[in-house]
């Protein structure tokens, strides 16, 4: 009963326009003061410790910083050029290249709206120029943009790992196959539609262009190698890998791509090579562009962490009151098996994912469903991937999916048109969700192969 009131209060506050973080924190604080003997002082302490005491969460600001350096530079443009060089000559080539570019960009950034903005703004304009309808273009990008949180590195996965004490490395590996699968399914669908509707295809520009574009984009894409290679090679912890990635991204953006910082050409002038202005090696650290990018990343970190810190207070309430355990017992008594449980999880997350920022949602839902899943014998990594995919789909499910909003802004289309445009591809992602939910090895095979079988502690 108390749980229902608690969650009712959280949702009610959110709906009247209270920031998500405050809805979570305020409800939990009231609850703790009324029901337990926790003092306000210890709530403040757990708020401080949310940052100072969670080593895993420390990876989040660094991942955000790396991806802001990557998205301020002309990385999106280079990735798109590379994608077009590779898949542009197929029927529906530019649309397929759009999906491919979203997959690559997702590997550099951990956020779905950011992917839609960076890739979508360029690709949608490009697709319209060669004769695609705006609706088709918007539908493709809205769906492909959601891959941002599934393909590693992913902030949502870091949050899940931290909330449930599973390994970040395993989660990242687990996202690889589902991420590639989802991308491939979307690209195949486009290919089939293109064959039927005779959509335009680009021309094959030869291997020279592939290599040239690949070399250009490669500087950025090497970031993935640093992160994944560093973690699985045992060189870095995920947090260190993220910090190294951020420093690498800074160097690439300032000295190789030179679209920001002291070497960037002003007002359309070409970017300077480093030899012409060697002092840039020092000034780049203090340049206004650098400061602005670090600041933007800091601001985004603050808003995300404010939600996560308050969600951790809510988690404190849930564990104090033994709520997950009692729900688990009730479900087992009622004879619910894993299948029904997973359907319930799907539904909760699909609804939640429409309204809420994914990382905040996962901090709340994960501690609630995790103990139940373990009782039912569901693999924690598999559960994590299911949750991520669910939220991905929640973001493009009408009526209020977040990615639909972003796409409608980027494409300059009313919401309802984006919804209709996204529907055919949404159906594909639904099939994908069912596959991920009921075929565990899609998620578990890669981490088990590389990191050995997992030890599950209850």
């Amino acid at each position: 009963m108390e749980v229902a009131i608690l969650f009712g209060m959280v949702i009610g506050l959110m709906l009247i326009g209270v920031p998500i973080a405050v809805s979570l924190g305020f409800s939990s604080t009231i609850f703790l003061l009324v029901l337990s003997d926790t003092s306000l002082g210890s709530i403040a302490q757990s708020f401080f410790q949310a940052m100072a005491g969670h080593y895993t969460l420390l990876a989040i600001p660094f991942f955000i910083l790396a991806s802001s350096f990557m998205s301020t530079g002309g990385v999106a443009r280079r990735i798109i050029r590379f994608s077009i060089a590779i898949v542009g000559h197929f029927p529906g080539g530019l649309a397929i290249a759009g999906v491919f570019a979203c997959m690559l960009f997702a590997a550099l950034s951990g956020s779905s709206p950011a992917t839609v903005v960076a890739i979508g703004s360029i690709v949608i304009a490009g697709m319209r120029q060669v004769g695609y309808s705006k609706d088709f273009a918007a539908g493709v990008i809205a769906n492909a943009g959601t891959l941002g949180i599934l393909i590693p590195p992913s902030i949502v996965m870091v949050v899940y790992a931290s909330a449930t004490d599973v390994s970040v490395g395993r989660m990242f590996l687990a996202g690889v196959i589902p991420g590639l699968l989802a991308g491939t399914m979307l690209m195949l669908t486009i290919y089939i539609i293109a064959k039927i509707r005779d959509l335009p295809k680009g021309e094959w520009k030869g291997w020279g262009e592939v290599f040239e574009a690949g070399r250009e984009a490669g500087w950025g894409l090497f970031l993935i190698v640093i992160i994944l290679g560093g973690i699985y090679g045992g060189i870095f912890t995920p947090t260190e890998a993220a910090a190294v990635a951020a420093v690498y991204a800074f160097f690439i953006a300032s000295f190789v791509y030179r679209d920001m910082g002291p070497l960037a050409g002003k007002d359309g002038a070409p970017n300077l090579p480093l030899v012409r202005k060697p002092i840039a090696l020092i000034t780049a650290f203090f340049h206004k562009d650098t400061k602005d990018t670090v600041f933007e990343a800091g601001k985004l970190t603050v808003t995300l962490m404010f939600i996560i810190a308050n969600a951790l207070i809510l988690k404190h309430v849930l564990t104090d009151e033994q709520i997950p355990q009692s729900i688990a017992a009730a479900m087992l008594d009622a004879g619910f098996g894993p299948v029904v449980f997973l359907i319930i999880v799907n539904v909760i997350l699909l609804i939640g994912g429409q309204f809420m920022e994914p990382s905040g949602l996962i901090v709340i839902v994960a501690p609630l469903v995790f103990p139940i899943a373990i009782e039912l014998g569901i693999d924690p990594i598999h559960l994590g991937i299911i949750m991520v995919v669910n939220m991905e789909i929640g973001m493009i499910t009408p009526p209020v999916g977040l990615n639909l909003f972003v796409t409608s802004g980027v494409a300059g289309m009313p919401m309802m048109r984006v919804v209709r445009a996204a529907l055919p591809f949404l159906a594909v992602l639904f099939v994908f969700l069912i596959m991920v939910t009921y075929i565990p090895w899609l998620s578990t095979w890669l981490p088990t192969t590389f990191m050995g079988p997992e030890i599950i502690t209850r």
Binding site: A52, P61, F236
Partner: protein
Amino acid sequence: MSGHYRAETVLGQFVNELEETFIAIILGLMTIITFINVVLRYGFNTGLIWGLEMTSFLFAWLVLFGVSYAVKVTAHLGVDAVINVVPPNVRRVLVLTSVAVCVAYAALLMKGAWDYWANFANLPQTTGRWFPTGLEEMKRTSYRGWYEVVDIPFPEWLRWIQPIMNEGEDYEKIPRFIPYAMLPFGVALLLFRFIQAGVRIWRGQADSLIVSHEAEDAVDDVAHMNRGD
């Protein structure tokens, strides 16, 4: 619905610049310390023993300091699906209610933040469970300024605080009240900014406390690229 934030007065611009710079510096420091530690480990087989603790505290500082800034520029994430479809007068009531909730939240947290910090700063905690009803009497055991952090060494130039906080005895590591000071400071700023936001909304200069996703500004920047059909 956010817009790009613009300060109106000279003081406002100065404070804004100060806040943005501080946020950038904290995140920059966190990154550099962590990076240097990796380099030291592989290049020189050594490391900054205090690096991790320092980064963790800076992380807490970043968020605690930054939340008030995010209120000021309307960057906190929320759900605007309902408030965007109700008539303007209903919306106004809902938004003002949400401001009241935010102020209450910050006020509760303020009491908690003070109590927790005072604990380590030789200052009296407040009495009362929900609201501060007074100050606790300082007993002999209430002076806990001698509590230190785990790893960060005490810098020489701070020795002058020893007579004030630690009866003249030497600190080996920095005392806890220093990193924890950001807790009451940040929460006090948060309370102030929520009240300020409330005043803005009351006067009709703003119409919401939240944005629906983190890329709202970025969307505005690229929206011109795909206008029309």
